[in-house]
Subunit: 515 residues, 2 copies
C-alpha cells in the first residue's frame, strides 16, 4: 500500500489551544516577494522574436483605435500616423516610448511598512476585483453591498501575503454609481493600511481618487510618488476606448500606476491560437504603455493582460486551461524583453461554488503565473464565477494558497544543510527525526502548515463535524472579521475627518457622468 | 468591472446533443507524452552538486540497511562494505551500477498501440494505488472491493491521458490477502489493454504476476521486454526491507520495471529541511537503483520518491505544500544528472472529500511534477485522503486535469501563426473572430474544453440542477462505466481461459506467505 497516512503520528487535542494562540497572534504582513526562483520560459529566442515581430507589424500595418479625440492629438504630437480613430505606430516610436516605463515601481502604502515594489524580481499579490455578487458568509449568492466591500478590505488587511487592500473587490451596489468610487477609496484607506486601487470608470472619478489620496498622503507626496494602482482594460481586438483613456491620462499625469491590460477572451476577441492571441494582446498592451508614456514620460505603468480562453462549443470563458498557462509563460518573456513590470491573474476560475473546480482552475493558474514571474498578481483571493462573484470562503482559502505561492517564490535555502546532515548522522537507518534537536529548532518553519486544509485523520475530521473546506474557510472569515477590531489600523482622526468632509462635499455635487 | 463573463456569447441548448455525441465518440488513447516544454530547475550547478555530494557521503559514511540476507550477499559480491545489515557504498560503485540503468524504458501493453516510453523527454501518467477505502458512486466511504477495482480499471482504460491501467488502485478487501494479487492482475489485464502494475507484497506474488504476464504476452517476450511496473518503497530513513527487496530481485531478474521510491514523510523520517530531505531520499533511491543493477545489469528501474511533508504541529502528512514543489524540482534535476527515469506523484492531497482542498493540493502538485519533468506520474487520478481513499468522482476530475497537463506538456505551436495573423488583419479593431474561417478551422482544438468543469452562466448552471463539481464527476463515472461495455478491449478467449485456470490452480495452493 502506498498511502501517506501509514505511520501517522499522534495529533489529538490542542485544537482549541491553537485557536486561542492564533487569535492572540500578532499581525503578519509579508514584505514584497523578491523571487528567488527562476522564471519559466516556453519560447526560445526565435519564438519570442516571431511574436514581437508580429506585434510590431500589427501596430504598423493594421494599427489600433484610440476612441478619444484628446488621445488622437497626443498621438499626432508624438509622431504617430493617425487616420480617423486608427493609429498606426512605427516600431521605433513604440519602443522608444515603452523604454521610458520604469522597470520597478515603488508603490507606497499609508503605513510605510506596507510599501511594496513591483517589477524586476519583485512580485506582489492583490485581491479580486469588480464582482457585482458575493457568496456571503451564509453561503448565499446575492448582490454585494458596501458592508461586504468593507469586510473584504478588512480581510485583505489581515492576510499576510496580500500586499494590496484592493479597490472595488465587490461592487457596493447599495451606493449610487456616481458616488461609489468615493466610498470604495475611503473603505480601502480606512480599513487597511496597505496600498489600494483606484477608480477608472470616469475621468472625474479618477480625479476624485487622486484627491482622496492627497488628503491621506499629502499633495506633494502623491505627485512625486506612486500610491495607488488602477486597472484599464483594452477592448480587444485593438480598441482603447475614451473611458479607459481618460483614466490612463489622469493617472499618468498624477504619476499613479495603471495596469494596461487587454481583456482577452481568447478565440472570441483574438485569433483561435495561443501564439496569435499573445501577438495581439502584446500589441494592445504595448500601445497602451506607449500612450501613457506619451502622456507623461516615466509614468509608472504595468504591462499585462486579463486572460480567459473561450469554449468554441459554448462561448463560455474558461480558466485554468493549459493554453492560459502557456500564454502566461510567453507574456512573462515579452515583459522581460521590454523590461516592464507586468500583471496577470492568480486565482481565476469559472465555478459557481467554492468546490473542486474553483480550486483546480485557481491553483493551476496561480502556479503558472508565479513561475512565469508576474510582478502584479491580480485576483489572488476571492474570485469565483469568472469574476462575477466574490466569495468570502474562497478569499480565505486563496489567501492561504497565496502564502504558499509566496513561500515557493522564496526558493531553496541551504542555510541549515550542514545541521540537517548532522541530524541524519545522529538518527541513522530506521530512526526517527521528530525528537532531534535539529527538528525541534526547525519546528515552526521547516514546512508550510496550512490552517484551512485539513490533513488530520478521517476519524478526527469526522469527530470535528466532517466539514468541507469551504465551511472551514467561512468560519475562518468570521473569526478574522472579529479579529480585525483588535488590529484595526490607526488613521489620523484629522485625516479621517478630511476624507469624510470631502466625500460629503462631492456627494452634494451633481456628477459629470451619469452612469 | 473586470469580469470574464461580460461579453458572454450565447451557449444555450446543445447539452443533450453533446452528450449523445460523447457516448458515440470513439475511444481516445493518447500516446506517450513527449514533453515539448523546458524542465523547471531551482538549483544551480553548485546546489545540485552539494546535494549529490551529501548523498554520496551518506552512503559512504552512514551507510544504509538492507534487511535481507540474499541482498547482503549480492552487495558483498558487488564489492560493498557490509557490516551486519549495514551496507556502505563507495561513490564509484554506486555511480558505476546506476549508470547501467536504461535512460528510457519501453513499457509494452498487450495492445501494441498502448505501448509507452518512460524516461528522457517521455512522460506517462498512472492512476492512484493501494487505497483500502473507496468514496463510491453514492458518496459513501467504505472498504473497497474487487468490483470497485474492476470499475477503476475500466475507467483507466477509457481515460485518454492515463497511460497505465494501474494495479491495486483500491484494495479488494473481499478477496483473501494471499490471493488478492492474482485477481488484481487479472482485472487489469481483462478490463484494459494498457500497461499494468504488479504486486510487491511477497516474492511469490511477484512471481505469480510474472507468470500471469507470460500467459498474456508469451514467456520469451516477457523475459526480453518490460510489460509491467511495480512499486517498492524504501523505509526511510535508510532501510530497504526484505519484502521490498524480494520484489526488486524478482522483477529485476525478469527484466520488469520497478519504481524504487523512498517513502518520504519529510520532517518525520527525514531531516526537517527540504534540501536535507532530498539528500537523504536521493541516497536511498540511488542505493535501490544500484542494488537492482547489481542483481541484473540493465534492469529497467525507475528512480524517484513518494513525498509528503509532515505538519510539525500535528504529525499529519501534507500535500501540495511549497516545499513539495521545490523538492520535486530538485529531484528532477538529480534524475537528469544520473540519466535515469524518475517517478513522482501527481494528484495527491489530504482531503476527505472531493472539495476545494482536494483540488488545490492536487493541481499544485501535478503542475510542479509536470514542469519538473517527471517520467512516471503516479497517482494521477483518484487519490484522496493521503491515499487511504480512492474516489470515483476524483478519478474522473483528475483524469481530465491530466489531459490538460498532457496538453501543457506539448508546449507551444507556431504551426498556424501566419493564418492567425491573417485572421487578425481580416477582423481588425473592434471586430469579432468567432465567424472567421480561421476560427472555424481551429474550432475543435485551439483551446482545451473541459467537460467536467462548468463554465456556463450561473442561470444555466442553476437550471441544470446547481450541481457541484463532484456530483458532475460522479455522473460522468457512471456514464463511462456503462460506456465500457461498448468499448471493452478484446482478449483472446484462449488467453482468458489460461488466466482463469492459472488463478484457480494457485487458489488451490496454500500460500508461502500468511498475510
Amino acid at each position: 500500500m502506498e498511502s501517506a497516512r501509514s505511520g501517522e503520528a499522534g495529533r489529538r487535542g490542542g485544537r482549541r489551544a491553537r485557536r486561542e494562540q492564533r487569535l492572540a497572534a500578532p499581525l503578519v504582513s509579508l514584505p514584497t516577494l523578491e523571487r528567488n526562483i527562476p522564471v519559466y520560459e516556453v519560447l526560445d529566442e526565435e519564438g519570442l522574436e516571431l511574436i514581437h515581430e508580429a506585434s510590431m507589424r500589427i501596430l504598423e500595418e493594421t494599427g489600433i483605435e484610440f476612441r478619444d479625440p484628446e488621445a488622437l492629438e497626443i498621438w499626432k504630437a508624438a509622431g504617430a500616423e493617425v487616420t480617423g480613430e486608427r493609429v498606426r505606430l512605427g516600431r521605433e516610436l513604440v519602443m522608444e516610448l515603452v523604454a521610458t516605463t520604469p522597470e520597478v515601481i515603488t508603490l507606497h502604502a499609508r503605513n510605510p511598512e506596507r510599501t511594496v515594489k513591483i517589477g524586476g524580481r519583485n512580485t506582489v499579490f492583490a485581491p479580486t476585483y469588480g464582482s457585482p455578487y458575493v457568496l456571503d458568509l451564509e453561503g448565499e449568492r446575492r448582490y454585494s453591498t458596501l458592508a461586504d466591500l468593507e469586510a473584504f478590505h478588512k480581510l485583505a488587511y489581515l492576510a499576510p501575503a496580500l500586499h494590496l487592500t484592493g479597490g472595488i473587490t465587490c461592487e457596493p451596489v447599495d451606493v449610487p454609481v456616481s458616488k461609489r468610487h468615493l466610498h470604495i477609496a475611503y473603505s480601502a484607506l480606512r480599513h487597511s493600511d496597505k496600498p489600494f486601487m483606484g477608480a477608472t470608470t470616469a475621468r472625474e472619478r479618477a480625479e476624485d481618487t487622486v484627491a482622496i489620496a492627497k488628503l491621506v498622503f499629502g499633495e506633494a507626496f502623491v505627485e512625486a510618488n506612486t500610491v495607488m494602482v488602477s486597472v484599464c482594460n483594452c477592448n480587444s481586438p485593438l480598441v482603447w476606448d475614451a473611458t479607459m483613456l481618460d483614466a490612463v491620462k489622469t493617472y499618468a499625469r498624477h504619476n499613479q500606476a495603471v495596469l494596461l491590460s487587454p481583456f482577452v477572451m481568447a478565440g472570441a476577441n483574438t485569433p483561435a491560437s495561443s501564439v496569435g492571441a499573445v501577438a495581439q494582446l502584446n500589441a494592445e498592451a504595448l500601445a497602451g504603455l506607449a500612450f501613457a508614456q506619451a502622456v507623461r514620460p516615466g509614468a509608472p505603468m504595468i504591462y499585462g493582460q486579463f486572460l480567459a480562453t473561450v469554449s468554441m462549443k459554448s462561448g463560455a470563458p474558461m480558466a485554468g486551461t493549459p493554453e492560459i498557462s502557456l500564454m502566461n509563460f510567453m507574456i512573462g518573456q515579452l515583459a522581460r524583453r521590454y523590461k516592464v513590470p507586468w500583471r496577470s491573474s492568480g486565482m481565476v476560475n469559472g465555478s459557481k461554488l467554492v468546490d473542486a473546480q474553483a480550486a483546480y482552475e485557481s491553483a493551476t493558474t496561480m502556479q503558472a503565473v508565479l513561475l512565469a514571474g508576474a510582478s502584479y498578481v491580480f485576483h489572488s483571493a476571492g474570485w469565483l464565477e469568472a469574476g462575477l462573484t466574490a466569495s468570502f470562503a474562497k478569499f480565505m482559502l486563496d489567501a492561504e494558497q497565496t502564502e504558499m505561492a509566496y513561500r515557493l517564490g522564496q526558493g531553496v535555502s541551504f542555510d541549515d544543510f550542514e545541521d540537517a546532515m548532522a541530524a541524519l548522522r545522529e538518527v541513522g537507518p530506521g530512526g526517527h527525526y521528530l525528537g532531534t534537536a535539529h527538528t525541534r529548532a526547525r519546528f515552526q518553519d521547516a514546512f508550510f502548515m496550512p490552517e484551512l486544509l485539513d490533513n488530520n485523520s478521517y476519524e478526527q475530521w469526522a469527530a470535528e463535524g466532517a466539514q468541507d473546506t469551504a465551511a472551514r474557510a467561512t468560519a475562518k472569515a468570521r473569526e478574522q472579521l472579529a479579529r480585525w477590531d483588535d488590529h484595526a489600523p490607526a488613521l489620523d482622526p484629522a485625516v479621517d475627518e478630511a476624507l469624510r468632509a470631502f466625500i460629503k462635499e462631492r456627494e452634494a455635487t451633481p456628477p459629470d457622468t451619469v452612469s
